[in-house]
């Protein structure tokens, strides 16, 4: 059986998609998959994913309906607005929600490893994260990644 090891290190909406898309698809193709969630990526394992947002700020590649100066992008509420717009676009185009993709990963047997150091660093509560997450560190990831056919840092 082929194996794929991913590191999910980002906690924004746009960067949350690649690990969940690749993990769920690889599992459907018969891969054994493990995703290691570290630093901001750990946010993707919270029960509630509504805090996962996208920011137009410092993101010049983000297509905007109207050109928006940086001074406007930094105003309060712009991040929530950009996130709502992006989510509505994703839905309209038939792209799965993060919650849906994560559930599909769990269902397909994708193993989620949550970084112990990150939870300690930010004083998070383990109870805020989904119970499917197993806690581990770099050595845990490398044990699996060392045998993997595909290994990506996202």
């Amino acid at each position: 059986m082929k194996k794929m090891a991913l590191i999910a290190s980002k906690g924004t909406l746009d960067m949350a998609y690649p690990p969940f898309i690749l993990a769920s698809t690889a599992a459907a193709l018969g891969f054994e998959v493990q995703v290691f969630f570290t630093f901001y990526g750990l946010q993707l394992l919270r029960h509630d994913l509504s805090h996962v947002k996208i920011s137009p700020l410092a993101n010049p590649a983000m297509p905007m309906p109207v050109p928006m100066p940086v001074m406007v992008q930094m105003l309060p509420g712009m991040e929530s607005m950009a996130t709502a717009m992006m989510k509505s676009k994703l839905k309209k185009k038939g792209v799965a929600s993060l919650e849906e993709l994560r559930d599909l990963c769990v269902e397909a047997g994708v193993k989620f490893v949550a970084c112990q150091m990150t939870v300690d660093l930010f004083d998070f509560k383990k109870s805020d994260f989904i119970q499917e997450a197993e806690w581990g560190g770099a050595a845990t990831f490398l044990e699996f990644a060392g045998e993997a056919d595909v290994s990506l840092f996202i």
Binding site: T25, A28, L29, G94, A96, L104, A108
Partner: protein, 75 residues
Amino acid sequence: MNVDKELDARGLSCPLPILKTKKSLSDMLSGQVLKVLASDKGAPRDMQAFANQTGHVLLSSEEAAGEYIFLFQKK
């Protein structure tokens, strides 16, 4: 071709057509045929890759009016 099951994945984007195809096949018996409808333009390439990786047989892959019809035989 006798179709045992049909999946309508039209309107869904990558990777949902693949994930739903996989799910549909998992409830079927070996040798049974699944018909998949999709509109994702990446689907023809992805469905072939799915077949190559999983061993399920892609019996046919057709396009008609911007939609795709795939026939899979479960391995």
